[in-house]
Symmetry: C2
Subunit: 379 residues, 2 copies
């Protein structure tokens, strides 16, 4: 869709904001000529009141439903978006955009810096969750949507949802925050730092300028992904899925992938480097580590939510999620309550770990269906 | 001490077994000319009944007490070994040897292969916890000790303790197994595999032959250590110790170590490569991943312990240890009970994570003191 074009039942494109509408950044600078890649399902109604924005997680993108153009796989939340699903395009205009800093069409460190004609690399400014949300707000505004019925996201998507509530409460009706947190913990930061160090240890990273040399830090990025992937699963899920099952009959007595879990991880690492950019991984993990919604409010999270007391919230967590464990969600809910906002909270029993928000969790589906139905019908 | 020399109050050395006494390996082969580096405190009594063997963890060594010859730091279990401490050299002859495969004096992948005159590198055979224990048994026998009063260890040391019980029950009186498990879980294997991949991704690893080229895979090994280090701490410990505290005033808006936890991790990684060999890290993590004490007994752990029913056991775990969580210790204790062995079990309340076994945990100290006193007095 070009600026102002008709939004049809399934649409998508890249919105170019041009030099006159730079993105203001939390770091103090600004980014001109920002492009935001987006995809949508459903039709925006006459009064533009049925728009739902989905915010994606660290390594995901705008391809929530339908077919992913690179992997050829089904969109990552097809379970929730589609006919008869909690977000039915017959009812909603469902929008998702690639975060600024990403690598699926939005401006990021892999984009060409107009000032040099070469990819930004590490000259790209460090961005924040707030910057991602500001770019989304620009997109939504450009589409003529003055108020989103709901903003929905899991993991880093949930952080963006909370940021929307803090920064643009008057522009949203409801928030769904799944398996997330209002700030990155020391352990969260530590895990990301290991991933970044793995990327930066790869000589093919070249100080971030690998594109110039036509190489990619594939080994480092694969190690980062393997480490991260473990944190997305629970111990129980890994044990149930793999246990100590071997790849072949007997041990190899070497360093090949003897165990199925090793082979699985290697596959995860290898597949990831084909679809993700190493510098984007650095920038987006950094944005998450910098995330601390209470910080500008003297550490009082309720103050961040105070202007959002007319927004309806749904907060979900999973029992076996050790990356963003339930206490983080409870912390959010307590702050929402203190701010006077209506928040429903559900901790879902699951042994699937953090990844549960992307997997078959019927309780999550029905909780989202119930909440979104209440948003739609104004109950 | 040379073979047969007198054991004095503090001693140490390297026992060379020569070509006539090869170490039989679980892989089927054998290793000739094995050398085992050891250190001891206290005096072996006349009937050689006061010997306690300490088994060390993955990256530790025989320098349990006293000063470490490389780091200059205090031994890693000085809290437990010394005058007036649970293992008092006035009462006990306390022995610890570097595991085979290690890099602190015992034969390992960094040793010279007599067949080629060059370091083994990846031609070193894959070793197991059973091989480590077999080498210890050779050392203990060479010292003329027919029965150890106790075998004590935490983490991988605890695995060796359990292996002693399974393989040499008649040669031990008691076992202390702290923060350990009878087999490596899928998550344990996955975490180790990430570390190995980080090492092997470093171009300076050179297929394990880095010593030939006078280089070392320092960056890869540092990343492996950083990833592992996070698993040794609990989320609560990281949060208490570091939270979101910054290194300097304000954020750097870059990829320097902004947060104290990042700086800490980088320091841990950097310090580690100065004291540990990358190939030893591969071999020892592999030995741990291969560890499954019940496997040769049709998966029934109690059968492994059946011959050890006259051995006294003390099993300890820590509430916040997510690497070897309490259910793993309970699994051991249930199997010991089923085998008819006497086992006392204590889960210690601690927020320090797996590393608690190396830290100031008064409840652990007093539990060990009580158990070892009962061993010494025959109560």
């Amino acid at each position: 869709m070009d600026s102002g074009g008709a939004i049809t039942a399934e649409d998508g494109g890249t919105w170019a904001f041009g030099p006159a509408a730079p993105l203001r950044l939390d770091s103090g600078g600004q980014l001109a000529n920002v492009e935001i890649a987006w995809r949508s399902w459903g039709t925006l109604n006459a009064d533009k009141s049925n728009a739902v924005l989905i915010c994606h997680a660290l390594t995901l993108d705008q391809h929530v439903a339908g077919t992913h153009p690179v992997s050829g796989k089904e969109g990552w939340w097809t379970r929730l978006v589609g006919p008869g699903r909690p977000l039915d395009p017959a009812d909603w205009f469902i929008l998702c955009s690639n975060v600024v800093g990403g690598c699926m069409g939005s401006t990021g460190p892999g984009s060409i810096d107009p000032a040099t004609g070469a990819p930004y690399g590490l000259t790209f400014p460090v961005i924040t969750i707030g910057d991602m949300v500001r770019a989304q707000a620009m997109l939504v505004e450009a589409m003529g949507i003055s108020k989103l019925a709901a903003v929905v996201g899991g993991s880093m998507g949930g952080m963006q949802v909370l940021q929307w509530a803090a920064d643009y409460p008057e522009r949203i009706g409801a928030c769904v925050c799944v398996a997330s947190a209002a700030r990155h913990s020391a352990q969260n930061i530590a895990l990301h730092e290991v991933g970044r160090q793995a990327v930066m240890a790869d000589p093919d990273w070249r100080g971030g300028a690998y594109a110039r040399d036509g190489v990619r830090p594939e080994k480092g990025l694969a190690v980062a992904r393997m480490a991260a992937h473990i944190t997305y699963l629970s111990e129980a899920a890994l044990q149930r899925k793999f246990g100590r099952e071997l790849q072949n009959d007997g041990l190899s007595w070497g360093f090949d992938a003897d165990f199925q879990v090793e082979s699985y991880l290697r596959h995860q690492g290898g597949a990831f480097v084909n679809r993700f950019d190493a510098n984007s991984y650095l920038y987006i993990t950094r944005a998450m580590d910098y995330f601390d919604l209470a910080a500008p409010h003297g550490g009082v999270l309720a103050e961040a939510f105070r202007p959002a007391r007319n927004v309806k919230f749904c907060v979900l967590s999973f029992t076996s999620d050790w990356l963003y464990p339930t206490p983080e969600s409870r912390h959010i809910v307590r702050a929402l309550n203190a701010a006077g906002a209506r928040a429903s909270f559900l901790e879902i029993e699951s042994d699937k770990g953090h990844d549960a928000f992307l997997l078959d969790e019927p309780v999550m589906d029905s909780a989202l269906r119930g909440f979104l139905d209440s948003v739609r019908t104004g109950r």
